[in-house]
Symmetry: C2
Subunit: 324 residues, 2 copies
């Protein structure tokens, strides 16, 4: 239902998106059956294609070239996919969005190498663009994301952490790639540098809001809708914004420690989620997300009026309120 | 002893190499203690720095710029290091019983994260070079290497394979990155395109010879010198050139199957290695390596005379005869 709504927001750019979709499929095609099957599995598991749509929309403020835009969009979506396969290795997840993960179907090794392969594919795709600034930005973005992966590990199972630690983590985990999607889309279209800056900040703020909503849904949604157990973040040892608000609550702490050490029963998982939901932590988290969303919208509102601007505003609004 | 000999071949380029060594250390420095420790461990473990030396030597045939050469050399050595860490990642499901799980997992995670981080560092380093051809070549090289990693998995434990399959595998595993090291070193120095072609082919042929010698040493050397059990390739399910020559030999086959299914005893490992050594397979493999080495030397011999040419010839000769 909600996914359909998102698709309807993309309607004006369906042609661009379906071109990118075909390029994505083409780019992971390979004579190796394992590579092909693993990549297609990932591609089909789909997702919201937020990075491609951000690239497309941002590029509409400059000299739009479908060809260049597709190269950047394909590259960024592939990098996102590669990081997902590697995350599956880390978290030992057997399912993502209801689909079997590469790691579950084959093994950790294949998941890791598929990630490496897709990563390289991303470089080949963007390699065709002859703009040094594009390559430098992409490399720096990837470096920060990888740093984030390791720092996330350093914070795993650590209850002594601040809101700032959390915000820095989700910046690297999500906001940076969305920010760079906007910036790169604008850059390859030779967009005016002031506009590039606004789009870049829009992507960053929207990304922060998006990830906070994601972390809220991990508590408030159902196993079925999530395609994985609700509360997975805690089960994997990750404190997120809602849980940071109540981590020192003595009634919550027994759940927290048992989620971290793996001794939480199914019944207690339900009780833990119910406890967080009634604690007020969800509302507080939603307010932080709303604050980022407002900042995102403010950046876009000062841009010249066009269809892309309208779509960016609608998508930002949707991402902040989505239920999946 | 032999390592010292190699270092003496590098003597004329010690200044360039030590500059690159410092840049390598600087590039993996990080505020994250895990990143820093893991990367430095890898860096200190050393290796022969063949990629950096190939970059340096190849660049001496054009307009040599230490700064550009260092960026390329650092990038290629980092990519090599990243692929080594990823190679070390063990499939949890296979090795769970052999290792304490938490420890095995800690290693896997850190290994994968560190590999990703170093990969990105490599991109940042080469990203500073404003030559599109350089980025395209690097991306294509990485793609082929990753493909090779997965294809190696597809061939694991498979006895029905040809010499061509093997040669294609070692091309991706080793020869390509050495070939690209030469090509990139020459490219960033604006070397004449005919010379670029010769250096590229030199790197490829030398890389093939190098890997075949590596595969021979896995049979003929000692556990102590190798730092792992002799015969590891077979124990890991990989047929290499020497074993391809005798894989259909009825006296060898019982060893082969037991090496593959993990039921080979320590005594039988010794007998298996002795059997391969006396079978003539080593000599035949050495001939193939020598053939590649001759081709490598032929490419370089037609290049203009200089110190770099002399060093390339000596190193190629050394790589083909080395005992470590």
């Amino acid at each position: 239902m909600e996914k359909l709504k998102l698709m309807s927001l993309y309607a004006d750019f369906r042609k661009d998106l379906s071109f990118i979709e075909k390029e994505l499929e083409r780019s992971v095609d390979s004579s190796s059956p394992v590579i092909r099957q693993a990549s297609l599995l990932l591609l089909r598991a789909g997702g919201k294609r937020i990075r491609p749509i951000f690239v497309i929309l941002s590029s509409k403020f400059g000299e739009y070239s479908m060809e260049n835009v597709a190269k950047v969009a394909v590259s960024l979506e592939l990098i996102h996919m590669a990081s997902l396969v590697h995350d599956d290795v880390i978290d030992n997840s057997d399912f993502r969005r209801g689909y079997e993960t590469v790691k579950a179907r084959w093994n950790n090794r294949i998941a890791m190498y598929t990630g490496d392969y897709i990563f390289s594919r991303a470089l080949v795709s963007i390699g065709e663009i002859e703009m040094p600034a594009v390559h430098q930005l992409l490399a720096e973005t990837m470096l920060e994301i990888c740093k984030g992966e390791i720092i996330q590990f350093e914070y795993q199972q650590k209850t002594d952490q601040s809101f700032r630690d959390y915000l820095r983590r989700i910046k690297r985990k999500t906001a940076l790639l969305l920010s760079s999607s906007c910036e790169l889309g604008a850059l390859v279209s030779n967009t005016d540098s002031e506009v590039v800056g606004k789009l870049k900040r829009f992507g960053y703020f929207a990304g922060m809001a998006f990830q906070i909503v994601d972390d809220i849904l991990d508590i408030t949604s159902t196993d079925e809708k999530l395609g994985k157990p609700a509360g997975s973040d805690l089960l994997n040892g990750h404190l997120t914004l809602p849980t940071l608000y109540i981590k020192d609550d003595p009634e919550f702490q027994p759940y927290l420690y048992r989620a971290f050490d793996g001794s939480l029963t199914e019944d207690d998982r339900g009780r833990m989620l119910a406890y967080i939901r009634q604690s007020g932590a969800i509302e507080k988290s939603q307010q932080v997300s709303d604050m980022y969303l407002k900042k995102a919208i403010a950046e876009v509102e000062s841009l010249p009026d066009n269809d892309a601007k309208k779509a960016l505003l609608q998508i930002a609004d949707f991402l902040g309120k989505r239920k999946f």
